[in-house]
């Protein structure tokens, strides 16, 4: 749903519903008019769109059956009813529907081996990379490495050299072993602070600091041959851009990255990947596309293990209830309260 659509949908709702929606979201919402209220709600929903929309749908769903059965005679009780319903409305699933442990544990096990098929976002990222720079922001473990490997393979087939950087030396070493296995030891080199192997290979792995230094040396005239044929720069773990001490290195690297080389930024899920894509578009000759998805390849379930060994689901839904941190499984909630009661020193105020 786009913001405009959402705004129109909100505008169609009665103001009472908007106030219920605003409960807990907007401070002193009861003092605002409808238009201002919609504005505030939209502002608020920018943090958590999914949760907001699902709450809205739940409220709208509730509204319709009641409006049908409404009659002038029972007008008063009906006016009170929404109050009760709304506390439900914020947490659609109630106690009775909480997921059971056996259902929660179901599906555990090893899937049958399947031929590898790239996810749509992976193919999308690769095809986009032909024309533009790409920023990828996906959850941990969704297969960013596959994109990096394929992109490197394609660049190397075009006789362009590739630089792959990672933030940690240990990760560089792991990738060196991994890529050597894939592309053959002759095609992969590594440069770290104190290790230089196969420095003229078409695919070079290095820490981001080393690449930054290379770019500085190239800029000041001490030309490095490799940079002329450089076709692709892959920056892994780009969320390090926000690292207090080292983030600046990523910025320098991106600013000084040669114009002819494509940039591929791989990042874990972050809140503002569009900003990074916009930034790259604004400073580089090509545009930059953002490939983002938030669905994990392997779905996640959260559980609660009590110190006495009792295992219960953490949330009352099977998966993670995105945008609803309070939908705790009643049993988990109960056990945790009990735990806090016993472990907190008496007199210490509970948070």
């Amino acid at each position: 749903m786009t913001t405009d659509e959402l705004e129109q949908l909100l505008a169609r709702q009665p103001v009472a519903l908007l106030h219920r929606l605003a409960r807990g979201r907007v401070h002193r919402h009861f003092r605002t008019g409808k238009r201002r209220l919609i504005e505030l709600l939209l502002q608020h929903s920018s943090h958590n769109r999914a949760g907001f929309e699902s709450d809205l749908q739940a409220l709208i769903g509730e509204q319709h059956p009641r409006s049908e059965s409404k009659s002038p005679r029972i007008h008063r009780p009906a006016a009170i009813a929404p109050k009760k319903a709304s506390s439900r409305g914020a947490e659609p699933a109630s106690d009775e529907t909480a997921v059971s442990l056996s259902a929660w544990l179901e599906g555990l096990g090893v899937p049958a081996p399947q031929p590898f098929v790239p996810d749509p976002w992976q193919s999308e990222a690769l095809s986009t990379l032909n024309d533009t720079d790409v920023v990828i922001s996906v959850p941990t473990g969704s297969g960013k490495t596959y994109v990096a490997v394929e992109a490197a393979r394609r660049a190397m087939e075009d006789n362009r050299s590739v630089i792959y950087t990672s933030p940690l030396k240990a990760l560089s070493n792991t990738k060196y072993t991994e890529f050597s296995r894939i592309f053959g030891a002759d095609n992969v080199g590594i440069l770290t602070g104190d290790r230089q192997e196969n420095g003229h290979a078409p695919l070079l792995i290095m820490t981001t600091e080393i690449l930054r230094n290379l770019l500085y040396d190239a800029a000041s005239g001490e030309i490095d041959v490799r940079l002329d044929t450089l076709g692709l720069v892959i920056l892994d773990e780009s969320q390090y851009l926000a690292d207090p001490e080292r983030g600046v290195v990523w910025e320098e690297t991106i600013i000084f990255c040669p114009a002819q080389a494509r940039l591929l930024l791989l990042s874990a899920s972050i809140g503002n990947p569009q900003d990074i894509a916009d930034w790259l578009t604004s400073i580089r000759s090509t545009t930059c596309r953002l490939v983002r998805h938030s669905k994990r390849t392997v779905p996640l379930r959260a559980g609660y293990l009590h110190p006495n060994g009792k295992l219960v689901p953490l949330f009352n839904t099977l998966g993670i209830p995105h945008g609803h941190p309070n939908q705790l499984h009643p049993e988990a909630k109960h056990l945790f309260l009990e735990y806090e009661e016993e472990t907190l020193p008496s007199g210490r105020p509970r948070r």
Partner: protein, 619 residues
């Protein structure tokens, strides 16, 4: 109930529900090590076939990395299939554990959250035991991004249908941090752009000074500052719209006009208030009622000792010396006559408000006073005291009192002036946002000019030419040390020791190996220099123990890794990281071959000396 689940119970529970392999994130390295201790005495042994598989895989790894052949954890890993993995371990050990995990041979790995980003192996389950993380001395709550990074390790592609993130409480856990982390959107990231000295030198080497502002404008920092500036500009536009009804009236800048008028009016008002209480006769007398003045009161006469104002009295007060050395307080209104006679009076700040001699003398003089003393003629002006000139002038300039829009101005002034203040504030901050990076760059340039790395025309001096190659933390201190020829002796162990103390930024305490006199005196010099540079660059920790440790390792080639570890209480992994960081710093010094051949030579000697034993195994 135990404060947190016992590691053995945890592993048993995970096994029973088929939730292994699992990564268990614990608060500290110690917690991981203690968990391992516990398994030492427990029979949770794996079936023999699995034990053999682990042994086989371990053999293959130790063949490559012999430094971990004797690792004390190996028996537990083999028997029980659990391991610890944290920054205190050697990288080779971590590689071995990661390899075993990748092959699916282990049931559980106990790791610290600090390393969540560096842990590059997935498992079926992650177990989270805390909601905060140690970040430089302090514990802070996990961010949403961090929780998702941790839980992201759960579920192996192709090996699991689902991944599990299991929370198990330990004292002081905050469940809401975790539930928010699971269900929330990760935080937006913000630029951490800083301008360092080597950056300035390198930029100025490659680009003319006038291009730099354009380059800085390309940073993500500026991009985000611009975003904020744009937000403010939108607000500014909105303010412009709100300001429209308050546009030019009779005078163009009526807000300022009204402001000054209002101010002057209020000012005059307060002046009146203070003088209202006293009649003109009294006011006229005040300047004459000074210490030493003889006055006539209702009964008898007296000499004024002081004049003062008292909070409870609406008139000025006098302290008066009466006959028989009595001292009384009375308001000026009780003075009936002011005589044309004064005596010298040496005032003091405390009772009786004059020196003892004066007091005695005045008492005598009061007794000896002739019965008739001429009265002082005091002129009383019946007019109201005129306003001070400044106020009169400012009021005279104002058209406001007779202006037709006066009432409108008065009514709108509060809103309009608030809006205008906001406008001015926003304009100022927008300007600051747009130019702050450039200002910081200029500040750095000035420091570099002061130290002689840059000429006044921002060209690199010969010093700057080599200094730009030192692209590490504390670069200013290092280049200044090189310029001061602190390392002239050419002793590689001293150089390595000093660079180690510069490179090591961890404050975990370590034991103190004996430090050589040469190193300790050199370290003293470095400390002094670092202190003098403190206004320009944060001083490093400069720990003597790590310096001594590295010096020992370089100076004594017969020292084994085990021997080195015995010298200190630092964990193996920390020593390794210290040496690796030192190598990095040394390789930067080594790059100064053309300008400082002697220094570069001893750096490369130090590098060869450091790289032995465990450090040779891994790049």
């Amino acid at each position: 109930m135990p404060p947190s689940i016992h590691p053995v119970d945890l592993v048993a529970a995970l096994r029973q529900k088929h939730l292994t392999p699992a990564i268990v994130f614990l608060t500290s390295r110690r917690a991981c090590d203690e968990a391992m201790e516990v398994f030492n005495h427990i029979d949770l042994v794996l079936p023999p076939t699995r034990q053999e598989a682990i042994a086989l895989a371990l053999e293959r790894i130790t063949a490559q990395h012999p430094s971990i052949t004797e690792h004390p954890l190996i028996p537990i890993v083999q028997r029980i299939g659990v391991a610890a993995h944290h920054a205190g371990h050697l990288p080779t050990w971590k590689i071995a554990i990661e390899e075993l995990m990748r092959q699916g041979l282990l049931d559980a790995v106990f790791a610290t959250t600090t390393l969540a980003a560096g842990v590059d192996f997935p498992a079926r389950t992650v177990v989270i035991t805390q909601s905060s993380i140690r970040k430089s001395r302090d514990f802070t709550d996990l961010t949403i991004g961090e929780v998702q990074q941790i839980s992201g390790r759960a579920g192996r592609r192709g090996k699991d249908h689902v991944g599990f993130a299991i929370v198990t409480p330990s004292p002081y856990i905050d469940l809401t941090v975790l539930t928010k982390g699971f269900t929330g959107q990760p935080e937006a990231i913000h630029s951490q752009f800083t301008i360092s000295y080597p950056m300035v030198l390198n930029l100025l080497k490659a680009h003319p000074h006038e291009h730099i502002q354009g380059i800085l404008a390309k940073s993500f920092a500026q991009f985000q500052l611009n975003q904020r500036a744009e937000l403010l500009e939108q607000k500014l536009d909105a303010l412009h719209v709100q300001m429209e009804p308050f546009g030019p009236r009779v005078c163009t800048d009526w807000i300022t006009q009204w402001h000054t008028f209002d101010h002057a009016r209020r000012h005059r008002h307060t002046r009146h208030q203070t003088h209202r209480e006293e009649s003109p006769e009294i006011t006229a007398r005040l300047p004459f009622l000074t210490p030493g003045r003889v006055v006539g009161l209702g009964r008898g006469r007296g000499i004024v000792l002081r004049q003062y104002r008292s909070k409870g009295q609406k008139n000025s007060m006098l302290t008066i010396l009466r006959s028989e050395s009595a001292v009384t307080e009375c308001p000026v209104t009780s003075v009936k006559e002011v005589f044309d006679r004064t005596y010298d009076c040496a005032e003091t700040p405390t009772y009786p408000w004059c020196s003892t001699e004066t007091f005695d003398r005045l008492s005598h003089q009061l007794e000896d006073l002739p019965s008739r003393v001429p009265v002082l003629p005091i002129l009383v002006s019946t007019d109201v005291e005129p306003l001070p000139d400044a106020v009169v002038q400012s009021l005279g300039d104002f058209p406001c009192p007779t202006c037709p829009s006066r009432s409108a101005c008065q009514k709108d002034f509060t809103t309009a002036s608030r809006l205008r203040q906001e406008q001015q504030r926003h304009t100022k901050s927008i300007q600051a946002l747009r130019t702050s990076l450039w200002h910081r760059f200029q500040e750095r340039v000035e420091v570099l000019q002061k130290f002689g790395y840059l000429t006044l025309t921002t060209q690199l001096t010969s010093e700057g030419e080599w200094a730009r190659l030192i692209r590490i933390d504390h670069s200013l201190l290092i280049t200044e040390l090189i310029r001061a020829e602190a390392f002239t002796g050419g002793d590689p162990s001293l150089l390595a020791g000093i660079l180690a103390s510069l490179a090591h930024d961890d404050d975990r305490p370590g034991a103190f190996p004996r430090i050589s006199t040469g190193l300790s005196s050199l370290l003293g010099q470095v400390r002094k220099l670092a202190e003098s540079l403190a206004p320009y660059e944060d001083p490093p920790l400069l720990r003597a123990d790590v310096a001594a440790l590295v010096e020992r390792w370089v100076a004594d080639p017969t020292l084994t890794w085990i021997g080195l570890c015995r010298l200190t209480t630092m964990a193996e992994g920390d020593i390794y990281r210290l040496l690796a960081r030192t190598l990095e710093f040394l390789s930067q010094v080594q790059a100064l071959k053309s300008t400082h051949p002697g220094l570069a030579e001893s750096a490369s000697q130090a590098i060869t000396l450091i790289r032995r034993g465990v450090l040779e195994e891994l790049p």
